[in-house]
Each structure stands twice: as structure tokens, then as C-alpha cells.
């Protein structure tokens, strides 16, 4: 089977001796929506940097759509589009010029690049700003500009490195709708993000990297199944006068005086909590997860 991305024993040691990657093995299937997660400094950006040739690897093998980057990096690069974490375009240039120029670097002539640039600028809501110096764009627009630029050669794999950092909620949602549509049309998406609820909602498969090593690489569904314990918060209709005790559950009363935090382990039923509260004359107004489920697993896998 040919994977979109196949990485084996990937190593990177920087000149200062820091070992950023200690033998990473990773595969991303064609058409996947894949999340690469990890704390700051874990090796995510180094891995992506090697994929798109901004970082020289010190060991291992990387193939993009079956093309070994050591044998034909130029050929492999045709499959990749990259949206980096930092803005990396000439702020004096206009969005239209930036995109058409990028197309030229992929050997796409102006006659093809110009209509494509129009298509993506319109889809990403930047067409009205096409002739303004890009330094005048807002942060969200700059990020969308980088997405349009990464798509101009219509790559098979789109790598998004923290694409929604600093982007407001509405824009983030519209961006994800656009990316999901791309994925539905067959583009493989690789995403790094600190917003774990995004990864949980969007991605089918996931890898968690920590200290230069992959500590988990599985489907989101399978990973969430391993979650043994979840914490729920129950908001009650009245204030709690005395400590609430429910047999078999660990409880904590919150500072607001009318909410309790309950840890629920695998095999325990939330119905028992409702029943016990009811018995004590307490009515539940609403209930929610304390934190994102993936976040709980992420902390567990990367702590220490």
C-alpha cells in the first residue's frame, strides 16, 4: 500500500546537540485527516520542516506518495502544500502576486495560475483584498492567504501547522469547513494544533509526539476508547449546604457553591449519580465534561 506520508526511523540532531527527533516512525494514509499533536518542543515542527525541506534530517527515511525524498525531493514536493505556523510571505506584495508567484515556483504558467488564484482567493474571502499590500491584511486574512498559497499547485497533501492559532472562533469554523471540504474531495490533511477539541472533531487518525518520539499513533476513536476515566461537572439548581457524598464516586464541590465535579470511571453509570443526587434532594440543571476527552489523554501521554 502506498501511503501519503511514510516516515521511518526519522532522526534530527541540531548543531547545538539537541536531539529533536529520536527515530520517529509514522504513516499517514491517502485521504486521511491526520493530527500530529504534542507539547511545545516535542518535534512536530521539526517533522513537518523535514517533510517540506526546511530542515535537513540527520537520519531515517521519508517518502511522500511513495517517492523517497532522498532520491527525488523535487518530485515529492509536487504533492505537498504547506501552511506554516509563522507568516512567511513578502508583506510588501499583494495577495494576488504572492499566490501567482508561488504557482510559478511550481512551474505553473500565469495563464493557469491566475484563474486558480481567483478561485482560491474568492473561496477564502480574500478576493476584495487581492491588490492591497498584504501587510494591511488582518491576522486571520494573512492565515487564509497562506492556505490559498499552499493550494495553488493543487497538492495531494496539505500540511497545516497550527493554522488556527490566534484566529477568532467564527473564522476558525469557516476555515475548518473549507479544509473539511478539501478532505472530502480527496486531499490528505495533516494538522498540528493546540486546540485538541479541533483534532477530536476533525481528525480520523492521530499521532502524539513527545520529546522526539511517537508515544501514540492510532485512530481517534481507538484512542478515546482507552480513556478510563472522565470528569463531569454537574450544575445544581440550588446551593450545596453540606458535603455531597455518593458511594463509589470521587466528588469535589466547586467554589461557586452550586456545582460538583465527579470522576466517572469506565463501567460506572452516570444514572447512579443522578439517582443519588435526587435522593439527597438536589436537582441537576446541566451537566458538562470538565475538559476535552482528548485533552485528558494528551496530558496523560505527555506528562513526565
Amino acid at each position: 500500500m502506498t501511503y501519503a506520508i511514510e516516515i521511518s526511523d526519522l532522526k534530527k540532531r541540531y548543531d547545538n546537540g539537541f536531539e529533536a527527533l529520536k527515530g520517529v516512525d509514522l504513516t499517514v494514509k491517502k485521504g486521511d485527516f491526520f493530527a500530529l499533536l504534542g507539547p511545545n518542543g516535542a518535534g512536530k515542527s521539526t517533522t513537518i520542516g523535514i517533510l517540506c525541506s526546511l530542515v535537513n534530517k540527520t537520519g531515517g527515511k521519508v517518502s511522500i506518495f511513495g517517492i523517497d525524498i532522498d532520491k527525488d525531493f523535487a518530485g515529492a514536493k509536487q504533492y505537498l502544500g504547506v501552511v506554516p505556523q509563522e507568516f512567511n510571505f513578502n508583506v510588501f506584495e499583494t495577495p494576488f502576486n504572492i499566490i501567482v508567484t508561488q504557482a510559478g515556483f511550481y512551474g505553473i504558467p500565469y495563464s493557469i495560475a491566475a484563474p486558480r488564484a481567483e478561485k482560491y482567493l474568492k473561496q477564502l474571502g480574500l478576493w476584495e483584498k487581492r491588490d492591497e499590500p498584504s501587510m494591511q491584511l488582518s491576522g486571520g486574512m494573512k492565515r487564509r492567504l497562506m492556505i490559498a498559497r499552499a493550494l495553488i499547485h493543487e497538492p495531494q497533501v496539505l500540511i497545516l501547522d497550527e493554522p488556527t492559532a490566534g484566529v477568532d472562533i467564527e473564522l476558525r469554523r469557516s476555515m475548518w469547513e473549507f479544509i473539511k471540504e478539501l478532505n472530502d474531495n480527496g486531499t490528505t490533511i495533516i494538522l498540528t494544533t493546540h486546540y485538541l477539541e479541533e483534532a477530536e472533531q476533525l481528525c480520523r487518525n492521530i499521532a502524539i509526539i513527545n520529546k522526539g518520539e511517537i508515544v501514540e499513533n492510532t485512530s481517534v476513536k481507538a484512542l478515546l476508547k482507552t480513556l478510563n476515566q472522565e470528569t463531569f461537572i454537574f450544575d445544581l439548581t440550588t446551593n450545596i449546604d453540606q458535603d455531597v457524598i455518593i458511594d463509589g464516586f470521587k466528588l469535589n464541590t466547586l467554589a461557586d457553591g452550586h456545582s460538583i465535579e465527579v470522576e466517572v470511571s469506565k463501567g460506572q453509570s452516570i444514572n447512579d449519580i443522578f439517582a443519588a443526587l435526587n435522593q439527597q434532594g438536589l436537582q441537576v440543571q446541566s451537566m458538562r465534561n470538565k475538559s476535552n476527552r482528548l485533552e485528558e489523554l494528551f496530558v496523560k501521554l505527555t506528562k513526565g
Binding site: 523535487a74 514536493k77 508567484t101 510559478g104 511550481y106
Partner: protein
């Protein structure tokens, strides 16, 4: 990439480079025009009229080729060093690095951008010089060849400077402390016959001397050195610098971690 795609990538870089220096023409095209007009007026006209002849020509006629060459050297160098360093500084060099464009095309694209600015400024300065003196080209082929090769050589020099540069200061140090002294001492304003024998021999180590004199030979038909020798030196420098710059790019020096 196919040959057609490679050509598209090359022309894209060249167009972007030309667009860059045309967009900021008050910084790139206007200053050399003003500076050289002052040189012509003050050194050529006012002071030159009191100096008398040099190499069988009026002082104005003698320094015009040197001044044209000086503006080509400084502008082709400055264009590539400023452009490539800015691309590093703003990280938009990554646009090229993530693309399949071969490194030799990236290098050639920047060099042609530098050559274009150098030649454009050279043409402007030549036209301005016609307000002060007449110019009859003795050897058109040598003139064009030397101008072109010199612009290529200093564009490559600017590229290497930009690769090593870690701050904007680093791209002004070489022009200020190396390029300007070499140009001033490279026979722009005087014939090396005026120097004592020791300094004449020392001047022969200055590569700019060969370019200025080869160009002066093309324009006036006089030179302090053998023109064929000058061409060999210029081409040798180009080959060495091109190989070195390409090696730096292939290794990702200063642009890849």
C-alpha cells in the same frame, strides 16, 4: 520538473526580482543617477578641467567608463544581497525552498535580477554622462561582454554575502569596507601608470582593476592591462563564485536548519 516548468520557475523569480527593485525605485534607481551626476559635474567637469589629459583623453572622458562600471558593480551586488537577505529575514525564502524549483535555478534567477538592475543603472548613468561628454564606443562587443560579466560576478558576490548575513548590517559591511575601496583603487579615477611601481604591482591584485580597464578598452580603446587577461580573470571568478554559491544553497547554509 519538466524543462518548461523549470523555465516558468526561472522567469517567475526574475520577474519578482525586477518587480521588487522597480517598486522601490527611489531607493534603487534614483540614488545612483543623482550620485553619478554629481561625480560627472564635480570630478569630471569642475576638477577634471584643471587636471588635463589622462591616457590621451580628457579627464571627463577617462572617468566616465569607470563611473559606469562602478554603478553596475554596486547595484548588481546590492540588488541580490538586499533581496535575498530580505527574503531570509521575512522567511519568504521558504516559498522557494518548499517548491520543486532546483537550486541552480534559484541562484540564476537572483543573479539575473541583479544583472538586470546593474545594466539598467549602467544604461541610465551612460545616458546621463552624454550631458557632459561625447562617447564613441571603440569595441561594442567587448563593452557589452565586460558589462554583462561584471554584473554577473557581483550579483553572485551579493548572493554569497546574503547567505552568510545574519543582520542587515552584514550586507552593508562588505560594500562599505571591501567593494568601495576596491572600486576607488581599481583605476576608476586614475591610470595606474601614475602610481609608483610597488603600488602598481599591488593594484594588479585588485580584480576590479581588470573590469574597469576592460570596459574602458571597449569604450575608449585604452587599457592599463591586457583585456584577454581581464576576461579570463572575470570568468574564472564567476565560475568559482557560482560553484560556491550553489554549494551553499545545496547545503542550506543559513536557510535550512
Amino acid at each position: 520538473m519538466t524543462n518548461v516548468q523549470i523555465m516558468v520557475a526561472f522567469l517567475t523569480i526574475v520577474r519578482r526580482e525586477i518587480r521588487r527593485f522597480m517598486r522601490i525605485w527611489p531607493q534603487t534607481l534614483l540614488p545612483p543617477a543623482i550620485t553619478m551626476t554629481l561625480y560627472f559635474a564635480i570630478f569630471g567637469n569642475l576638477i577634471g578641467s584643471r587636471i588635463g589629459q589622462m591616457g590621451g583623453f580628457s579627464y571627463m572622458e577617462y572617468i566616465v567608463p569607470g563611473l559606469i562600471m562602478m554603478s553596475i558593480i554596486t547595484n548588481s551586488y546590492a540588488n541580490v544581497s538586499a533581496s535575498f537577505y530580505s527574503a531570509k529575514f521575512q522567511h519568504n525564502v521558504q516559498e522557494l525552498l518548499v517548491s520543486p524549483t532546483p537550486n541552480w535555478i534559484i541562484l540564476m534567477g537572483y543573479v539575473v535580477g541583479g544583472v538586470t538592475r546593474g545594466l539598467l543603472v549602467g544604461l541610465m548613468v551612460t545616458l546621463l554622462s552624454l550631458f557632459f561628454t561625447n562617447m564613441n564606443l571603440e569595441n561594442l562587443f567587448i563593452t557589452i561582454l565586460v558589462v554583462f560579466l561584471t554584473a554577473v560576478l557581483f550579483s553572485l558576490g551579493g548572493f554569497v554575502n546574503a547567505v552568510y548575513a545574519k543582520s542587515f548590517d552584514d550586507i552593508s559591511i562588505i560594500p562599505t569596507f571591501v567593494l568601495v575601496p576596491l572600486t576607488y583603487l581599481g583605476g576608476v579615477f586614475y591610470s595606474i601608470d601614475l602610481l609608483p611601481p610597488f603600488w602598481q604591482n599591488m593594484t594588479l591584485l585588485n580584480p576590479v582593476l581588470y573590469m574597469v580597464n576592460a570596459f574602458r578598452f571597449g569604450v575608449l580603446g585604452v587599457s592599463d592591462i591586457n583585456v584577454a587577461y581581464a576576461l579570463v580573470i572575470i570568468i574564472t571568478f564567476i565560475v568559482v563564485l557560482f560553484a560556491y554559491a550553489l554549494r551553499l544553497l545545496n547545503r542550506g547554509h543559513g536557510i535550512r536548519s
